[in-house]
Amino acid sequence: MRDKLAGYSELGAKLRSLTGGALFSVLLAGCGSNVTLEPVTIPAPLISPMPLSIAVRIPAEFEHYVHEDEVLGREKWRIDLGGSNAALFSQLFEYMFDDVTVLGPDDDARDLSIDALIEPSIDAFEFSVPSQSKTESYAVWIRYRLKIYDNAGDVYANWPLSAYGKSEQFGLGGDEPLKRAAILAMRDAAALMIMNLDKSTAISALKDRPPKTLVASGNSAGAAAQEEAAQAEKSPLPKRREVTLPPPGPVAGPAVLSMDADEDDSMEKFLEGSSND
C-alpha cells in the first residue's frame, strides 16, 4: 500500500514537473518569436537580359543572415533569413544577365572568363510590428549593398539599395505577416535592381573592357582596401552620393539610395507620377 502511495506521489510530482515545464515554455514563447524564412522564388521578369558574363559570390554572412532584436524592451525577435537572400539574388541575376556563375566557397574567380563579379551583402535590417507602429501592419526594411568588381579585381561600383515590404495581419496567423513583409521587401529589392542596376552602376560598360590577366579573386577584404584608390582612378562613374534613409515607419516612403546625381529626378518622378520613367 505504502509502495502504491509512493508511486502515486512520484507520478504526481512528474505531472507537476511536466505542467510546470509546459507553462514555463508557454511563458517563454510569449516573450519572443523565432522566424525562419524559406528560400524565396520570384516570377520570371519581363526583361531582356544584359549581354554580360558575370560571377556572383555569396558571402557566408549573407547566406546565413540572422537578425535579433528586442521590441519595446519586451518581445525578443530572432529572424533567420536563411538561404532566402542567396536564392533570390541567384535567380534574379540568372534572369538579368546572359551568363551567370554562382561561385562556391572554394571557387576562384580567376579561373573564369567573366566581365564582372558581383558580391551582395546586407548593411542593415529593420522591422516593425503592430505593437510598435500602432497599426495592423508588419513592415520590413532591408538595406543591401552590391559591390561590383571588374575583370582586374578592382572595385568598379558600390551600390547601396534600400527595400521595403509591408503586410497586414488580417487572415495571416503567427509570424506569417512578418515573413510576408520580408518576402515583399526582397521582391522590392529585385524590382529596384532590375530598374536601376545599370543606371546606378554602369555595369553594362564592363562588357567592352579588354580582358586582363589579373582576374578578381573575389576577396572582398583585399579589394575593399583598394576601394578608395580604385574609385578615384575610375572616371566613368559619377561621384558616389548617399541619401539619408527616412526614419522607419509604415508611412515612410521608399528610400532610394543612389550613386547617380540624376537619381534625384527619378525619385521626384516616382513620387509624383509614373515610376517607370
Binding site: I42, P43, A44, P45, L46, I47, S48, T135, S137, Y164, K166, E168, F170, G171, L184, R187, D188, A190, A191, L192, I194, M195, V251, G253, P254, F270, L271, E272, G273, S274, S275, N276, D277
Partner: protein, 226 residues
C-alpha cells in the same frame, strides 16, 4: 406545402433578426465618368491596391472582397486574381514600379512582353483601389463578472468605423482613365449588456465592398445616358 411555409417563416425570422441585430450604417457611393466604358464577354478586369510606398493602406481582404463581389451574379465580370496578374507582369506592377498615372501606360506597354502578357489575359480594365477602414470614435463602458452562482455583464459600449475607398478605373484599350467610383461608409456598432451582451455590429468594410463592387459593375458595363 406546410414544410415550405415553415421554411419561409424561418428564413424571414432569421432575416428580421439579422436586421434587428445590426448597427447603423450610412453609405454614399458615387462615380465620376471621364470616358465611355463597356466590356466584351471574354474581356477581364483586374483589381489592384495603389502602392503602399505612396502611403496607401488598402487591405488585402478588401481587394479579395471586391474581386468576389464583382465576379458574382448574372452580370458578373471576369476578374483576374490580383496576385496572378502582378506575378505574370513581374516586376512592372510591384509597389515600387507600378504606374501611378495613366501617362505612364504607353511606356509600360513598350516594355518587352508587357503588352503581349496583358493581351493574353484579355485584361481590359485595371481598377486601382485606394483607402482603408478606420475606427474613428468609440465610448461607453462594459463590465463582466463571474461568481459561483453564475456570471453576467452590465453596461453599454459603442464604436464607429469609417470605410472610405476610391476605385480609379483605367481602360487599357485606350490607355486612358475611364473615371472613378468612391464609397464612403460610416458604421456605428453597439454592445448593450444586461446580463447577456447583445452585439449590434455595423459592418462598414463589408458594406463599402458591396456598394463599390455594385457601382463598379454598372460603371463598366453600362453606357452613360446621353
Amino acid at each position: 406545402m406546410i414544410e415550405a411555409t415553415r421554411r419561409t417563416g424561418t428564413i424571414l425570422t432569421a432575416g428580421f433578426a439579422t436586421l434587428a441585430l445590426s448597427g447603423c450604417i450610412t453609405s454614399r457611393v458615387e462615380d465620376a465618368r471621364e470616358g465611355m466604358t463597356g466590356i466584351e464577354d471574354d474581356e477581364a478586369v483586374v483589381i489592384l491596391a495603389k502602392s503602399y510606398h505612396l502611403g496607401n493602406e488598402t487591405e488585402d481582404k478588401y481587394i479579395s472582397c471586391v474581386e468576389d463581389a464583382l465576379s458574382r451574379g448574372s452580370k458578373g465580370l471576369r476578374v483576374i486574381p490580383h496576385r496572378q496578374f502582378v506575378d505574370s507582369l513581374f516586376p512592372w506592377f510591384e509597389p515600387r514600379t507600378a504606374p501611378a498615372e495613366t501617362r505612364g501606360l504607353p511606356k509600360l506597354m513598350e516594355r518587352p512582353g508587357v503588352a503581349e502578357r496583358i493581351a493574353d489575359q484579355k485584361v481590359r480594365y485595371i481598377i486601382w483601389l485606394d483607402g482603408d477602414t478606420d475606427r474613428v470614435a468609440g465610448g461607453g463602458s462594459l463590465s463582466c463578472a463571474v461568481g459561483p452562482g453564475g456570471g453576467g455583464c452590465f453596461g453599454f459600449a459603442w464604436w464607429q468605423n469609417d470605410a472610405d475607398y476610391n476605385a480609379a478605373v483605367w481602360d487599357l484599350k485606350g490607355l486612358e482613365s475611364a473615371g472613378s467610383v468612391t464609397a464612403d461608409v460610416s458604421g456605428t456598432s453597439f454592445l448593450p449588456a444586461l446580463v447577456i451582451p447583445i452585439p449590434l455590429i455595423a459592418r462598414a468594410r463589408a458594406s463599402a465592398c458591396k456598394g463599390l463592387a455594385d457601382q463598379l459593375r454598372d460603371f463598366i458595363i453600362d453606357e452613360p445616358e446621353v
